[in-house]
């Protein structure tokens, strides 16, 4: 056991060295290109073949989507188990907070992008159903002694209420994640008002002004062009619709930040290897969290896309930020 732990430690050190080397190489390559004699060629190359980050690595943009797809294809089966292990179950609290802030009323249409295994969609349907029951209970309590007039009115309005069914559409670019989600739904017996679609967040297969709420939970940092995804969100939302985004963000407290970094880089890939048998995917996860803009910067990006009343809530000391904006 000690030998395997030693091996794991060596792997950690080797991988962290590799990360430092890669970033150094990336920087030197970039600066060399700018100052070289063939600047014209350099510019045209940069324009046609721009690169982005994949964790701490620099990859061409066309590559990123493919690599992200592979990451999630590999982890799909163990995704929920890993979430519980890595966040010690706190991810459930984060998602419940999202629903509480959202406070959806019955009859509302939700689009959950990068919804994968459907956590948000399930919670949404449950919340709306409990809201409906609360409303019914409240209505029946206030109508303990109805007059004949009230009873006859009740009969006519019952059908109207039923037609406003709330619906949740789960959209994800990865088929494997959706398959896992659909299996979960079937085993839970939840299928009314739930739809599954394979789609790209940068090019949603939905018409304009369709949804009341657009959520993207822990998915937007994997999108290659975040501004395009934000613009698509604006497009498919109805006027008055709400955009909500849960994402890992910058920890404000320096002590907590140190602990969080240590935990991220040393525990999480190890957990990934032990539980899901995939070190690299979880290395990508913690690196992509570091590359994502912080709360204020992301708030600026959402405002640039055209959302109003943008605000964010820090959860767990800034480990996760819940951003919300409205289409007005």
């Amino acid at each position: 056991m000690a030998a395997s732990m030693r091996l794991l430690f060596r792997r950690v050190i080797r991988l962290s060295h590799r990360n430092i080397n890669v970033t150094a190489a990336g920087v030197s390559r970039g600066s060399g290109c700018c100052w070289g004699p063939s600047t014209c060629r350099c510019f045209s190359d940069a324009a046609g073949d721009s690169s982005t980050h994949f964790g701490f690595e620099t990859v061409p943009e066309t590559e990123k989507a493919k690599r992200v797809y592979k990451v999630f294809e590999n982890v799909a089966q163990k995704y929920d188990v890993m979430n519980d292990a890595m966040s010690l179950g706190i991810h459930r609290v984060w998602k419940d907070m999202l629903l509480h802030v959202m406070h959806p009323q019955p009859g509302v249409q939700l689009l959950d992008v990068a919804g994968g295994t459907g956590d948000i969609a399930f919670r949404f349907l449950e919340y709306v159903r409990s809201q409906q029951e609360r409303q019914k209970r409240r209505a029946s309590r206030s109508m303990q002694t109805p007059s004949w007039q009230d009873i006859s009115n009740n009969y006519s309005t019952e059908d109207v209420v039923e037609s406003q069914e709330s619906r949740a559409v789960v959209c994800d670019i990865n088929k494997e994640m959706l398959k896992v989600g659909k299996q979960k739904a079937d085993s839970l017996g939840v299928s009314a008002g739930l739809s599954w679609v394979v789609g790209d967040a940068e090019e949603l297969p939905f018409d304009d002004d369709q949804f009341d709420i657009y959520t993207i939970a822990f998915g937007i940092r994997n999108v290659t062009h975040i501004d395009q995804a934000l613009q698509e969100a604006l497009r498919v939302l109805k006027p008055g619709g709400r955009f909500m985004c849960l994402e890992f963000s910058k920890v404000t407290n320096p002590v907590l930040a140190r602990l969080y970094d240590a935990y991220s880089f040393q525990m999480i890939p190890v957990l990934g290897e032990v539980i899901a048998g995939d070190w690299k995917s979880y290395q990508y996860l913690v690196e992509s969290i570091r590359k994502f803009p912080d709360q204020e910067e992301f708030k600026g990006m959402i405002e640039d896309a055209g959302f109003y009343c943008v605000q964010y809530y820090n959860l767990t000391g800034g480990v996760v930020a819940l951003h919300s904006g409205f289409k007005l």
């Binding site: 619906r167 559409v169 670019i173 088929k175 959706l178 398959k179 659909k182 739809s195 599954w196 679609v197 394979v198 789609g199 790209d200 090019e203 949603l204 297969p205 939905f206 018409d207 304009d208 369709q210």
Partner: protein, 115 residues
């Protein structure tokens, strides 16, 4: 006293295990019956209701035009661009790269990539 309790626990666990094994077998047997009887029903059900409700707001991601559901090939077809999006396991695949070109003479498997 504890030995009694332990003894009882062990026998209970053994009973539960045996029951669990039997239940496992029973579960394996019944799906076979269910699937034989209603194989086609289940297959149709998995695809028909999903599409009817989805078609209301599903459009082609490239042209944003509504789609037509084709029950024979189980695809969503965009007439203007001549492409078909496959439906796998009841989940429509709306990625432009995965769509199929519908040519009048032949149908190739390559697709129009977005610009």
């Amino acid at each position: 006293m504890f030995r009694n309790v332990l003894g009882r626990l062990v026998t209970e666990i053994v009973h539960v295990h045996r029951y669990a094994n039997k239940a496992h077998l029973i579960q394996r047997v019944t799906p076979a019956f269910v699937s034989v009887r209603s194989f086609t029903d289940v297959k149709d059900e998995a695809q028909q209701p999903f599409d009817a409700s989805l078609l209301e707001f599903l459009v082609c991601p490239l042209s944003k035009k509504p789609l037509r559901y084709d029950a024979d090939t189980n695809e969503l077809i965009n007439e203007d661009l001549g492409i078909a999006y496959p439906i796998i396991d009841g989940i429509p695949n709306m990625i432009p790269q995965e769509a199929r070109l519908i040519q009048k003479d032949t149908d190739s498997s390559t697709t129009p990539t977005q610009g």
